[in-house]
Amino acid sequence: MAADKVDPIHQFHIIKLVPINIGGYDLSFTNSALFMVATVVVAAAFLFLTTSSRSLVPGRLQSISEMAYEFVGNMLRDAAGTQGMKFFPFVFSLFMFVLVANLLGLFPYFFTVTSHIIVTFGLAALVIGTVVVYGFMKHGLGFLKLFVPHGVPVFLLPLVVLIEVISFVSRPVSLSVRLFANMLAGHITLKVFSGFVVSLSALGAVGVAGSVLPLAMAVALTALELLVAFLQAYVFAVLTCMYLNDALHPGH
């Protein structure tokens, strides 16, 4: 068990809490699912309860909810214009979900939902799926103009189109890997430095003295991870807004 304490990967293990198996698929309620539920409950409860008084002059907590709302609203309006506001609930839920999942993951012994690529990829695929479906619904085949930028010489067109297609296809990958890798790397680093503290302090007085440095590092990294948690939620939401803008206005 001592090995588990310093094993930086251990925190990412999926543990089945309620095994469910349907049609050969393992659909168990795991710790990951538990923390998804926790994320959703915390975020929804926060937004719901802090705004329940509907005061004209907001308190601190209501201000936070309103700030989040207006932050995402401005982001979406800047990137995709007023037409983009029909996607506001979607972008707002993505932002809140990722943000709260990242923040919850910072608590010791908590599972970080966004440190699993399948979760971030699921969200990214949802974004790109929305873009593709809405793009074709709104513009029909005109959506394909997305891949043909204006003002490019004809002989360069095949190359440019190829590059555009590759960049479009790589979007869900980059969107999901960016979030996943940031959370994963941050949590591993935190765990490694905290592991140093544990291992060193087991070595007696010298070790305890020596463990001050990794402890300070762990504290600083926690602050950094707090920033990263917010930043990655922001980046995820901003990129979502930009991709939705492509669905609304496919011509460059």
Binding site: D4, D26, T30, A44, R54, L56, S93, H116, I118
Partner: protein, 199 residues
């Protein structure tokens, strides 16, 4: 060792042998479920269906809740506030206009009052001057009259006195004539003599 690396190959081709080795270590040391073994947990496809399902359920419910409840509510709060602020601003600018108008009216009235006050002062001064003038004239006239009266009285007194001077002189003359001459001079002679002397 062979079994676990086989698991690793099966579940995650990307995971290298060192991970397989740690997986084996954990296997021997702990009671982690068998399918989570060989692979690096985030890349373990065995967990994918369950995570995707629960992500769909939780995120779907979250989306619906935000769309139906939170977004209308927060949007409503912010709209109400913006309306209220613009209303208040309108009212404030209206009140400011009213205040400005009141100040302008006040200043105008003040200027008028000043003008009136100076004209009233001028009028009062003029009236006072005229009154003083008439009073002065009246007093002067009264004085003149009194002076005239006095002069008249003086002249009548003088005339009386002169008349009496004549008779006194006649009496005196007749007395002197009596005393000196012992005879009586006629009254007419004496009067004529006095008259010729007085002339």
């Amino acid at each position: 060792m062979f079994v676990t690396s086989a698991f690793a190959q099966e579940s995650a081709p990307a995971a290298d042998t060192s991970h397989a080795a740690t997986g084996a270590d954990t296997h021997s040391g702990t009671s982690v479920p068998a399918e989570a073994h060989g692979a690096f947990p985030p890349f373990d496809p065995a967990t994918f269906p369950s995570q995707l399902l629960w992500l769909a359920i939780t995120f779907g419910l979250f989306y619906l809740f935000l769309k139906r409840v939170v977004v209308p509510r927060v949007g409503g709060i912010i709209d109400v506030r913006n309306d209220r602020i613009s209303q208040d601003l309108d009212q404030a600018s209206k009140l400011k206009g009213e205040a400005d108008a009141a100040v302008a009216a006040y200043e105008q009235e003040l200027a008028e009052a000043k003008k009136n006050a100076s004209s009233i002062g001028q009028q009062a001064a003029d009236a006072a001057k005229a009154e003083a003038e008439t009073a002065r004239k009246k007093i002067e006239a009264a004085l003149d009259e009194k002076l005239g009266e006095a002069e008249a009285r003086i002249s009548s007194i003088k005339a009386n006195a002169m008349k009496e001077v004549g008779s006194i002189a006649e009496d005196t003359a007749s007395a002197i004539v009596e005393a000196l001459v012992g005879g009586k001079a006629s009254k007419a002679e004496i009067a004529a003599a006095v008259k010729s002397v007085a002339r």
